[in-house]
Amino acid sequence: MATNISFLLNGDKISYEIKDHWTLLHLLREEMGLIGTKEGCGNGECGACTVIVDKLAINSCLYLAIDADEKIIETIEGLASTDGTLHPLQQSFVDNGGIQCGFCSPGMIMSSKALLDENPKAGHEEIKHALAGNICRCTGYVQILDSVEAARDKGGQNE
């Protein structure tokens, strides 16, 4: 069955005809071509597909597209400005070596953004808790946590 939904994606009003069995991840990647959001496990275990819906980080692989109707959705594509300036969190991941292969980064950054938007002064433990659902298979988590902390310390400003 096809249904028409409309939602706000990275600030743009979108209207789309979707099938009932599509996940939000499928809609973003396969249909709209926004391949910044990654599919890792597809089971809600790895967090690579994290996007922000109504200010909360969710796993888009377990979120039906039909449930996105009337929601405000943010993906990694919406973070950098149109002139190419990176979002402070993205810049911080680059500066602090929080990226190796980059596959987990969109999810890590979206989970961190949801946290820092809600609590700009989040402590080390809160950051660890917020990122507990995101897996990195390259190296480790120290640089990633450092990156988030550095972005927090700059208070959302690029240097």
Partner: protein, 332 residues
């Protein structure tokens, strides 16, 4: 991974949902958060024709205290339970259990307490992709006649790994199930069939409506062991409830061991052996913990990760820690 095709129905009221459920019965599945259901569907373990979404049914999302009972709507998100002062104070085991379920992205939005209780049993031979399962004979749970977890087993040995169910059973919770023509409240312990294939005594036209926890001056604790701190099922867990008497002795005890059997195991005899014991009687706690290990070990099979030996010996640790922690809370 793609979802198989289905039709999505979004009833606006509970009555409408029950009507739909009565019409479609086995062809329908209830979609609350979907964090368990959608994964099963992706793996081809379930192929419902319709999903009945509870999204619009805000009437099923509440936490309230009413004449000596805490009542929780089945669709209440895990995050609401974690944030509730009432649950933290009066039903600590449930608070501790919900904190361990999933990660923020699961708790905050998708996961619900009803869904956590109603999650199907798991087994790492069964919870695999279509492709994996297509390469060998079907097991009992898959409609076949063999068990990969225990040789020569004549039945399914899948394990109930619900954090919420173990904690709620320790708290002595009841649940209310509704259908179009009926409403019944049963003890959560009676809700389990000990059948690995159909673990819950829930009719195809019934919907879990409410969880009812009695509040009677008891304290509780929940302990679990898992590989990962987030997004992982427990390989062993224990929920404990102790009610102190005026003389600071144990007036009532409930010990429940989870992730070891086909349902959470309420160990009635061991629990009552603690009656009359002092709250600082560590030796009695140790004895009860070891007895819990012996009792639950008979149910466990090697099917959820870690070795069986390790899981069995950790039962004793989990029960002991939960008992100690509950006693500490009472003393404080």
């Amino acid at each position: 991974m793609r979802l198989p095709k289905f039709n999505y129905l979004g009833p606006k009221t509970l009555d409408e949902a029950l009507d739909l459920l009565d019409t479609y019965k086995d062809d329908a599945k209830i979609l609350a958060g979907g964090t368990d259901l959608l994964v099963r569907m992706k793996k081809g373990l379930l192929k419902p024709k319709v999903l009945i979404s509870l999204k619009a049914l805000n009437e099923l999302s509440y936490i309230k205290k009413q004449s000596g009972f805490i009542k929780i709507g089945a669709r209440t998100p895990l995050a609401d339970i974690i944030d509730s002062d009432l649950i933290q104070k009066e039903a600590k085991a449930l608070f501790q259990a919900c904190k361990k379920i999933g990660a923020i992205s699961i708790q905050h939005f998708r996961g619900t307490i009803g869904g956590n209780i109603l999650q199907d049993n798991r087994c790492h031979h069964y919870n695999q992709s279509d492709f994996h399962r297509s390469g060998r004979q079907a097991c009992h749970k898959d409609g076949g006649k063999i068990c990969y977890a225990r040789e020569e087993a004549d039945r399914c040995n899948s394990t109930c790994q619900s954090d919420g169910a173990t904690a709620l059973m320790a708290l002595g919770a009841d649940i209310t199930l509704v259908s179009k023509s009926n409403e019944r409240t049963i003890d959560l312990a009676d809700f389990y069939t000990t059948d690995g294939i159909m673990p819950h005594a829930c009719e195809s036209n019934e919907l879990l409506k409410e969880i009812i926890i009695p509040v009677f001056g008891a304290h509780s604790s929940y302990q679990r062991l898992a590989y990962r701190s987030a997004i992982d099922y427990p390989i062993v867990c224990a929920g404990v409830l102790l009610k102190p008497s005026l003389k600071n002795e144990i007036a009532e005890a409930r010990i429940v061991v989870g992730a070891m059997g086909r349902s959470p195991l309420f160990l009635a005899q061991i629990s009552s052996s603690l009656k009359g014991k002092k709250l600082n009687d560590t030796i009695a706690f140790k004895k009860a913990a070891d007895a819990s290990m012996d009792s639950s070990a008979t149910f466990a099979v090697h099917n959820v990760g870690a070795t069986l030996e390790y899981r069995c010996s950790m039962v004793s640790q989990m029960v002991f820690q939960a008992l100690e922690q509950t006693a500490e809370t009472i003393k404080a």
